[in-house]
């Protein structure tokens, strides 16, 4: 059975890789299997995790959580889309989800993307930390601090939408977008290297587990 599984996995892996050449029937088969099986798999997973695992067991437990019924009612309202005359009711749970999401995340995003970001940027330029003698930091650290402060400042200037990017302001915005692009370049290289490890993993499967050319 294991051998059969390995052959199926190899067939599907090569089918997906064949897309690098061009679209072909083998890829179409693999794509359809992938999409179909994963959709079915997620349906079953969500049914057992949410409807059965969370809702049904939560409501029928000796210490029932009746708040779960609110979610069930919202879910049921969503299904009313299938009844066109009252399909408009399905907009209510959608509004609930979008509104609750915005309300819940505003605090988290403000804390992490604003407060903590500013806190990290507010560091002394010429010393390693507040309270240490001024000009105590090495040249390397000082340059690093200047890059962080300057990069954050100009990067933020780039994201001003209500002021024309002209003159000094435009110059700062241009430095900001350059800083962002250099960061993207570094991030691109780093991520490509991590994706290479995924490719190596698949190659190990093909040449090791399947063809047994690597031991």
């Amino acid at each position: 059975m294991d051998t059969f599984g390995i052959w199926v996995a190899a067939f599907l892996t090569l089918g997906i890789i064949s897309f690098l050449y061009r679209d072909n029937p083998w890829y179409k088969v693999c794509e359809s299997i992938f999409v179909g099986i994963s959709a079915g798999y997620w349906f079953v997973t969500l049914f057992y995790d949410n409807i059965l695992g969370l809702f049904w067991r939560g409501v029928t437990s000796p210490d029932p959580h009746y708040m779960l019924l609110v979610g069930a009612v919202l879910g049921f309202m969503m299904l009313l889309r299938l009844v066109p005359p009252i399909g408009w009711i399905s907009r209510w749970p959608l509004a609930f989800v979008v509104g609750a999401t915005a309300g819940l995340y505003i605090i988290n995003y403000f804390s992490s993307n604003v407060m903590l970001q500013v806190q990290s940027t507010l560091a002394p330029l010429f010393s390693t930390k507040f309270g240490q003698p001024i000009f105590e930091a090495s040249l390397y650290d000082t340059i690093g601090n200047l890059v962080i402060a300057g990069g954050t400042f100009t990067g933020l200037v780039y994201f001003f939408f209500s002021k024309e990017h002209k003159g000094v302001f435009g110059g700062a915005a241009r430095i900001g977008i350059w800083t962002i692009m250099i960061t993207f370049g570094a991030s691109f290289g780093y991520t490509v290297m991590s994706r290479m490890s995924l490719l190596i993993g698949r190659m190990e499967f093909i040449f090791g587990d399947w063809l047994r050319l690597i031991r």
Partner: protein, 424 residues
């Protein structure tokens, strides 16, 4: 021996046996009842069998203070004490035991044992609004191969009663609250200004200017438009921002009578996108042109979704592809496939790790906040423009704080960063 003497002998023996049995039973009962009356034995001393050496009993810790743990949702009491004078390396304290009872006189049970050197413990097992009494026991014990040889201890006075209570506000996060009030105040102020008719400027965003061009190109070529809203659900603000842009793109497509297709990976996104596209067609005056199959579900699986879209892209060769929302590792797979068929591609995401791929493979990319500004830019609605202006003023305040804060910290004048610390 006659019969009578034999009977007397057996009766005597029997009475002795009976008396001894009763005596034995009474002894057993007495022992059992005495055992039952003993207080419960600490399991940690169960193996105790040696007498402790002289002068090993530690001095009790001092200044025990117990109070409700502040800024929490209840069920916690904070206990602090000053270490025993015998608590030092090589000293007589090996651990502290925290004992709790609801009765001042008796019933103290161990709730925790912390190592020597500790001066604080948070009892997270306290019920709210129940008075508790606490005491700390400084313990000195000796073990050999895991077996307890001896143990001695001394206790503090009893502290209490103390009740755990939940608080409405976490005062440690007051700075976040003030920041939010300022930001929301600015946004509301500028929304009102925009509503009152004040003209609000918004700078050019190249990626959004290209939306009309991209839709027009698809119309000229007589090909489809694909709109990919990412792999996250409606609980992600990027998906919400992407879906908002979909409204504008779908309206343009409806006006130009160009087919727009939205493959999605989440059921909630499908339902929302259907509503948005349908409304866009109605706004464009073509409600009958909308087809349910324009917005369709593929799979929740990230790479299954990517494989499905790749297949659709190479077979149907859309003229324009929009990637607007939250993307992960599938970003390059999707955008590179779109690039290979020569489609004009406009992407927008707030995922810093995926932006480089979109920048490399797409014609235009909305970077982070540009995605969130897009709905205001495209619709020019006063409400959204006012919100954008309010956010910009918030950014200006942050810029000033950064300059002032860095100068103050660089010259050791004031540590402004402390006011941006987020606790809890």
């Amino acid at each position: 021996m006659t019969f009578n003497s034999s009977v007397r002998f057996f009766l005597k023996v029997g009475s002795v046996i009976t008396n001894r049995t009763i005596l034995f039973s009474l002894t057993l009962l007495l022992w059992a009842s005495l055992s039952a009356a003993q207080p419960p034995v600490d399991s940690s001393t169960a193996g105790l069998f040696n007498t402790p050496p002289p002068d090993v009993t530690p001095v009790a810790p001092r200044n025990l203070v117990v109070m409700d743990n502040p800024n929490d949702a209840g069920h916690a009491v904070i206990i602090t004490w000053d270490s025993s004078i015998d608590d030092h390396p090589g000293g007589k304290v090996t651990a502290y035991k925290i004992l709790r009872s609801q009765n001042k006189e008796s019933g103290f049970a161990k709730v925790a044992e912390v190592p020597a050197g500790s001066q604080q413990y948070i009892d997270n097992d306290a019920a709210d609004n129940i008075p508790y009494y606490y005491k700390i026991m400084a313990v000195n014990s000796s073990r050999q191969a895991g077996q307890l040889l001896w143990q001695v201890s001394s206790e503090t006075d009893i502290f209490g009663p103390v009740e755990s209570k939940p608080q409405w506000f976490d005062m440690r996060r007051l700075n976040v609250f003030i920041g939010m009030i300022i930001l929301c105040g600015l946004i509301i102020f500028y929304i009102n200004q925009a509503k009152s008719g004040k003209k609000l400027f918004i700078r050019k965003i190249a990626g959004l200017d290209a939306v009309d061009e991209a839709v027009g190109r698809a119309t000229e070529m007589g090909k489809k438009i694909f709109f990919i809203p990412g792999t996250s659900d409606m609980d992600n603000v990027q998906t919400i921002a992407g879906i908002t842009i979909l409204g504008r793109v779908a309206q343009l497509a409806a006006e130009y009578e160009t087919w727009i297709e939205v493959p999605v990976s989440r059921s909630l996104v499908m339902v929302t996108a259907k509503e948005i596209v349908k409304e866009a067609y109605t706004k464009a005056g073509r409600p009958d042109s909308f087809r349910d199959e324009q917005v369709h579900y593929l799979t929740d699986d990230q790479f299954g979704y990517a494989a499905g879209i790749d297949g659709m892209v190479v077979r149907e060769k859309p003229a324009t592809i929009f990637f607007m929302g939250n993307f992960y590792a599938e970003s390059l797979i999707l955008s590179e496939t779109g690039n290979s068929i020569g489609a004009i591609q406009i992407a927008g995401t707030g995922q810093p790790s995926q932006l480089p791929f979109f920048v490399a493979a797409c014609d235009y990319t909305l970077i982070g906040e540009e995605l969130f500004a897009a709905s205001a830019y495209l619709s020019r609605e006063p409400k959204l423009l006012g919100s954008l202006k309010g956010q910009d003023i918030g950014k200006a305040i942050i810029l000033v704080a950064i300059i002032v804060g860095i100068l103050l910290e660089s010259f050791n004048l004031f540590q402004l960063s402390n006011y941006f610390k987020v606790i809890g």
